[in-house]
Each structure stands twice: as structure tokens, then as C-alpha cells.
């Protein structure tokens, strides 16, 4: 599949609302994504990411709002759409005694357009496990199989719901590499995540979602620049001090303490660092560690919602 950055949106969601009994899961989600990009829906658990992706693949219907995927209505043109998209939802479960190869061959057989099974086994590092039963696979292998199943029909659009949830850091990096490969092949990918690193590393555009609403949307760089929270300083001190005292220093915009580490946002950073050193000398305190970084999407999320992503 070759890269093709077409200007017309491949996915457009407008004013999506969805209620589950007494829970309002979506309160007007709207976004567009273009062909060839990796688009991330970033938000904490319960933000409405999974409901959004389930509406996009046609598993649920919105109570209000409209959605088009690959130019089709997922609710009314479900089978045509399924031929053109691939999806891996959270925790793919297959029958225990089904082998990896059988699963790939079976699911490929449902589609008109198919990718050779051997090629998928090779790409997803499952060749050695081709005869293994599903219940004998590790978490990472199951997730790789889920991704391979999403590609059996060589889809235009791949939708991945929390593809790395529950995996350790090393397995997560394996999955990142596979998604980067999708990207390099020019595939359009929509993924949901609550990992900042994942969104920053993989996504061309990110929509930050909270409580069923899009609170910010743009490229990761744009979001950070737009936040105006300045440079991020992570400081460790010899003796604890109230975070409010650090916030009163010159050029410091914000200050909070978490597990003995003080996170300051400052603009300009150099002025804040000089002020900090003078303050520590006056307090007879010492600077044990200092990290200087650009603000992250986590900072943007905190600014937008007043909460951390993990809360």
C-alpha cells in the first residue's frame, strides 16, 4: 500500500452522542482524519474512546450525530465497510483450541480481498507459533495475532482500540514498531490510547478526549505549543519545601509536587532556574536533580481538564 495523503477526510465524526442507561458516554464528539495519517484518541479510561471506535466500525449506533468512514455509513453499509477496514478491539478473544494459522486463514476467508497468511505470520513474528493454540499464546503474541487479524483483508483503514494495554514496556515497543510499519506502508490508522508516550510517538494528529468530549485536537507539537505552559522542569531537593513557595519564584507559571519530585512549568526557563538556585541558597537547601524538558501531552491534558491522565 502506497502513501496517499488525500485532503478529503477518510473518517468524519460529527457531534456524536451516546448514552448507556444513566451514563452519558459521548457528549458531542467531532473530528476528522485524513487518509494516510495516524490519528490518536487520547484520554483516560471511561472518556469515551472505545464507544467512539465502536461507532466507527459499526458495532454501535450513536444516539445523535453522524459518522462517515471510507465514505460509507457504518450503520447502514456495515458489510461494505468491513471489507475496507480492519480493527482490533480491546482484548481479542478466540476459541482456546484454534491455532494461529487457522485463525488467520479462517478470518481471511470471510473477505473478498485477502493478504497471504504466510506473509502475515512473517510480518507479525508469528511463524514459530503458527500451530500454537490460542490459549497457549502469551499476552504479546495474542496482541500481535489481533493486529495480524486486523490486516487479513489489506484494509484502507486500521482501527486499534488500546493496542498496548496490559503489555509490559518491551512488548509495547514491539507493537509500536508494528504500528510504525503500518504508517510507513501508508496505511491510515486510528488508535485509542491512554499512554502519552504512544500518542506522542505514533500519532500525526491527536484528539484529547475527556468525559465524552474532545477537549483539544491537533498535532502533538501544536497541542503543546498551544498550551502556553512553558518549559517543564523536574526538580529533586535535599529538603522538602511547599510547592506554593516554588510557584512564587520569577518566571514560574505552575508548580506541583508528586512523589518528592517538583514539576515546574516556566517561561523563560533560564530565569526560573536562576531564581530557583537563589531560593535554595537562601533556604539552605540543595538541588539534587534537575531535568529540563518541553511540555508533554500529559501537561496539555492537565491544563485542559485539571486532572492527570492516570487519575
Amino acid at each position: 500500500m502506497s502513501a496517499n495523503n488525500n485532503a478529503s477526510p477518510l473518517v468524519s465524526a460529527e457531534n456524536l452522542h451516546k448514552r448507556y442507561e444513566d451514563v452519558l458516554a459521548l457528549r458531542g464528539i467531532s473530528f476528522e482524519m485524513k487518509k494516510g495519517e495516524v490519528f490518536g484518541l487520547l484520554g483516560p479510561n471511561g472518556a469515551g474512546k472505545t464507544t467512539t471506535i465502536e461507532i466507527l466500525v459499526g458495532l454501535r449506533q450513536p444516539d445523535e450525530g453522524s459518522v462517515r468512514v471510507c465514505g460509507l455509513d457504518p450503520a447502514r453499509e456495515s458489510n461494505e465497510l468491513k471489507e475496507r477496514i480492519g480493527a482490533a478491539l480491546q482484548a481479542t478473544v478466540l476459541p482456546d483450541k484454534m491455532t494461529v494459522e487457522e485463525a488467520l486463514r479462517l478470518f481471511a476467508s470471510f473477505y473478498k480481498h485477502r493478504v497471504p497468511t504466510e506473509s502475515l505470520l512473517e510480518t507479525f513474528g508469528l511463524m514459530e507459533k503458527r500451530h500454537a493454540h490460542f490459549d497457549k499464546l502469551s499476552g504479546g503474541q495474542k496482541q500481535r495475532l489481533a493486529l495480524a487479524l486486523a490486516l487479513v483483508n489489506d484494509p484502507e483503514l486500521v482501527l486499534l482500540d488500546e493496542p498496548t494495554v496490559g503489555l509490559d514496556a518491551m512488548l509495547r515497543r514491539d507493537i509500536y514498531a508494528l504500528i510504525e510499519r503500518f504508517k510507513s506502508e501508508g496505511r491510515t490508522v486510528l488508535l485509542t490510547t491512554h499512554y502519552i508516550e504512544e500518542a506522542e510517538r505514533l500519532c500525526d494528529h491527536v484528539a484529547i478526549i475527556d468525559h465524552g468530549r474532545v477537549v483539544a485536537i491537533g498535532t502533538p507539537r501544536e497541542l503543546v505549543d498551544r498550551s502556553g505552559r512553558g518549559t517543564r522542569l523536574e526538580v529533586r531537593l535535599a529538603k522538602p519545601v511547599p510547592a506554593e513557595k516554588l510557584k512564587s519564584l520569577d518566571a514560574v507559571i505552575d508548580s506541583r509536587e508528586s512523589d518528592g519530585i517538583y514539576v515546574l512549568h516556566a517561561q523563560p526557563a533560564t530565569q526560573a532556574i536562576v531564581g530557583l538556585i537563589h531560593f535554595l541558597e537562601a533556604e539552605n537547601n540543595a538541588l539534587l536533580d534537575l531535568h529540563i524538558a518541553q511540555p508533554s501531552l500529559e501537561d496539555v491534558f492537565v491544563e485542559m481538564t485539571g486532572r492527570k491522565l492516570s487519575e
Binding site: L94, L106, F110, Y111
Partner: protein, 466 residues
């Protein structure tokens, strides 16, 4: 359609790889066969023929409720249906593939049971049974799959489906003749049994295997199973849920009762217009007598209270056909032994022939034969026997005292159906003035087909006094 076949093949493969599924699919029915044939049936071949239908029905019920139905909820609860939902596979494909896989798995199971029943218990079996068993199996599996999937579709959780399945299972197993033969149950339970679909299936199997009745004689029961099975599958398809989070509303649960409508109507029809207990009693009493003759023979006691036809009728030669001495001018009818019982003690007789074109001075066709009343029978009112015929003609039956040639013989005229039914022919009454007439020791039975010209054939079985 190809997706249905692919999914069915995959389901069968998965069953073959699961030890628990293999045990319950293949070994468990064999255990039941040995319990029924070996313990309940004392190893008697004819008892096995009667009970084979019970084992098959039990197996079909198990596959429908605990194989297919439970499996459907388990797939939903585990979340494995979710992955199929992302592919271009519809709910009808899932339901149909489960149904087909269940059917294809049951065929070799029935073959295995048949081999065990014939090889170990020497169950009598005719090749002509095969198409009829195939029809009953197909309709039975289809119908009970519909019921099992309906229960699964209205159950939200595994716990719920197990409660519903066990309620249905125990009611059907204990009240429909699968475990306890219906004639051994109280009358009110027999009435309840007419409203249970398992009753139709088990009694049809028994009619075919133990009485050689054609399945066409049970068309209403077959139609009821097909209609209710279709209703069940339709409901299961319409209420199909992919996700365990999707709960079914109480209003939708009420749809499940729709499949009970044809069964309820059938039950009403059976109670008002049919007499199912006659057929049930016949096959049951036949099986019990055959068993008791084997048991008593083994104990060295008298075998049976039934009296055989004289002469050739007492022969154990299955192939022997003889012509009954007839009145000179009357066309002959034939009497053939069509099913000798255990130890040759009982016989099903076929009286057949042809009614000629009517002409002047042409007497009607009539068959007759003599038989002896055993000395152990002191008093009796007449003889009774079971009768069936595929003809739609009437027959006239008359009894005479063969020794005295005296007495008035009441004529009984009836039109036998293709189902076995019991008939009583009163013994000839003596001339008035004879205060204490002796009971006749020899009777002569006349059978005359009535109506238009053409072939006739009527089967008679288990002739005895009453």
C-alpha cells in the same frame, strides 16, 4: 453459505480437540446406551430396539440444550463472538454454522450408538429403518437446536441459561418417556407428555424401531417439530446478541413463548382427536412381553399366555408364507408372518390379497383361520389384537365357535389407520336357553376386506383373549 460451511468445519475441529467435549459428545451417549440396554433392558435385543429411541432422544436433547445452547452463551460471555462481528459475518451465519456443526457431529454419534446396539445387544434392525431414522434425526436435531438456541438467546448469563436448560431438560427427560416409559406413568402425566416435543420424538423412534411403523403415520408430530424448530431458530436469530453487555429486555424474552404455540396446539389435538396412549401402550407392552418371555424362558417357566395361530403360524420360520384354507368360491387371501417375536412366541401377521372387480355371484374376499384357546383361560369375552393398515378401506371381522359352529357372531367393521390400534372382537354368544354355556375352545376368525377392487394388506399382532 461458504462462511457457514467454513465456520461449521472450524467448530467441529475445535470440538475434536477438546477432551471434555469429546467425552460428552461420544462417550457419554454410549454410557447411556449401556445403562438403558444393559440394565433397564436386561440385554434383550427387542428391549434395546424400544429403548434405542430413548437414548437417541436423550442425546439430541443434550446436544441441543447443553451443547449448542450453552456453547452459544459461553461464546458470548468469553467475548469470542466479538471478533467475528468485526468481519463481514452476520448473526445468521453464526447461528446456521452452529446448527450445521451440531448436526454433522451428531451423525457419527448415532452411527456409533447403532453399531454398539447391534453389535453388543444384537438389536434387530432393518435397512428400511435407515431413511426413517435419518428423517427423525434430522428433524429432531433441528428442532431441539432451535429450542436450545432460543433459551440461549433469552438468557443473559451462563447461570441463567443453566437454570433454564435444567428446567427444560428435567421436564422433558422425566415426563416425555425418555427415562420412564409413558405407559408406566400416571394418566395425568401422559396428558402433560402430549404437550412436550420430546414425547413426539421418542415415541416416533419407538414406533419405527420397535413396531416397524412408517414415519408418515406421525405426520402431525413431525410437522409440529419442524414448525416449532423453525420458530426457535428464527427467534434465536432475531434475538442474537454478540456482546455480553447487551442485555435482553423482558418484552423480548416473551418471544421465546412463540415456539410453544405449535407444541401447545399439537398437545390439544392429540388429547381431543388422537389416542396416543394406545400406540404408546402397544409398543411398551410388546417390549415388556418380549422381555418377560426371555426372562421366563431362562427361568424354565411357561413362556406366554398368548395363543398362536394353529399349524404353520406356530412356526419360527420367518420366510414361510402359507395360504389359509378358504371357502371354495372365494378368492384366496394370504397370511404371512412378518415379524416373529423372541422364541417365536409372538407374531405380527400380514393378511393381504386382492379384491376382484365386482361381478354377479362374486363373493367377497375373505381370510380365516382357527386358533385354540389355552386351557388356562377359563372365561373370556372375546379376542383382542393390534391392527394397522396403509389401505383406506374398511375390514369386517367375525368370530365363530369352530367346534359347535353355534352362536351369533357379532360383526365388527372398522377402517384401520397406519398407526397401530387395539381392537376387540366379541366371542359368539350361545343360543338362548342354554343357561351356562361352555366357553369355546376353538375359535375361527374371519377377516373380509370391503370396498372397491384392488390390493389390500392389513397387519395384525398380539392376538389374545380379553
Amino acid at each position: 453459505m461458504m462462511n457457514v460451511i467454513r465456520l461449521s468445519i472450524m467448530t467441529i475441529r475445535l470440538v475434536m480437540r477438546t477432551k471434555v467435549a469429546l467425552f460428552f459428545t461420544f462417550l457419554f451417549p454410549c454410557i447411556f446406551l449401556f445403562v438403558y440396554g444393559g440394565i433397564f433392558g436386561h440385554g434383550d435385543p427387542n428391549a434395546m430396539a424400544y429403548m434405542f429411541g430413548q437414548v437417541l432422544t436423550l442425546n439430541i436433547l443434550g446436544a441441543g440444550f447443553f451443547g449448542l445452547g450453552l456453547q452459544a452463551v459461553m461464546q458470548r460471555e468469553r467475548g469470542s463472538l466479538r471478533r467475528y462481528r468485526l468481519a463481514p459475518v452476520g448473526s445468521l451465519t453464526i447461528v446456521a454454522s452452529n446448527l450445521l456443526a451440531n448436526y454433522l457431529i451428531q451423525i457419527p454419534v448415532v452411527g456409533l450408538l447403532l453399531v454398539c446396539a447391534m453389535g453388543i445387544f444384537h438389536m434387530p434392525f432393518k435397512l428400511s429403518f435407515i431413511p426413517m431414522i435419518f428423517v427423525l434425526l434430522t428433524i429432531g436435531i433441528f428442532a431441539f437446536a432451535g429450542y436450545g438456541l432460543t433459551i440461549a438467546s433469552v438468557s443473559n448469563t451462563m447461570q441463567e441459561v443453566q437454570v433454564y436448560n435444567n428446567l427444560a431438560w428435567f421436564a422433558l427427560v422425566f415426563l416425555s418417556g425418555i427415562t420412564i416409559p409413558l405407559p408406566a406413568l400416571p394418566h395425568w402425566i401422559q396428558t402433560v407428555a402430549t404437550f412436550l416435543p420430546a414425547t413426539y420424538l421418542v415415541t416416533m423412534f419407538q414406533a419405527v424401531m420397535a413396531q416397524s411403523e412408517p414415519v408418515s403415520a406421525h405426520l402431525p408430530e413431525l410437522v409440529t417439530l419442524v414448525v416449532s424448530g423453525f420458530a426457535g431458530l428464527f427467534i434465536a436469530w432475531k434475538l442474537f446478541r454478540w456482546e455480553k453487555e447487551e442485555r435482553i429486555s423482558t418484552a423480548n424474552k416473551a418471544w421465546a413463548f412463540a415456539l410453544l404455540i405449535p407444541i401447545f396446539l399439537m398437545g390439544l389435538w392429540m388429547n381431543v382427536y388422537a389416542n396416543p396412549s394406545a400406540s404408546w401402550n402397544k409398543s411398551y407392552s410388546r417390549m415388556i412381553k418380549q422381555m418377560s418371555s426371555v426372562v421366563s424362558a431362562a427361568n424354565g417357566t411357561a413362556g406366554t399366555t398368548l395363543e398362536d395361530f394353529e399349524g404353520a403360524a406356530a412356526s419360527q420360520d420367518i420366510s414361510k408364507t402359507w395360504q389359509v384354507p378358504m371357502e371354495d368360491v372365494r378368492p384366496l387371501a394370504e397370511i404371512t408372518i412378518i415379524a416373529p417375536g423372541a422364541n417365536g412366541s409372538q407374531h405380527a401377521l400380514r393378511v393381504s390379497g386382492r379384491v376382484p372387480m365386482p361381478s354377479q355371484n362374486q363373493l367377497p374376499v375373505q381370510a380365516s383361520d382357527n386358533f385354540v384357546i389355552p386351557t388356562t383361560v377359563k372365561t373370556f369375552s372375546g379376542i383382542e389384537f393390534w391392527i394397522r393398515s396403509d389401505d383406506s378401506r374398511e375390514y369386517r371381522f367375525t368370530l365363530l365357535d369352530e367346534n359347535t359352529k353355534q352362536g351369533t357372531a357379532p360383526e365388527i367393521t372398522l377402517r384401520p389407520s397406519s398407526k397401530w390400534a387395539s381392537i376387540r372382537i366379541p366371542a359368539p354368544t350361545q343360543a338362548q336357553g342354554n343357561a351356562s354355556p361352555p366357553q369355546p375352545s376353538h375359535l375361527k376368525l374371519f377377516i373380509a376386506p370391503l370396498g372397491q377392487a384392488g390390493d389390500f394388506s392389513v397387519d395384525i399382532d398380539e392376538i389374545k383373549t380379553y
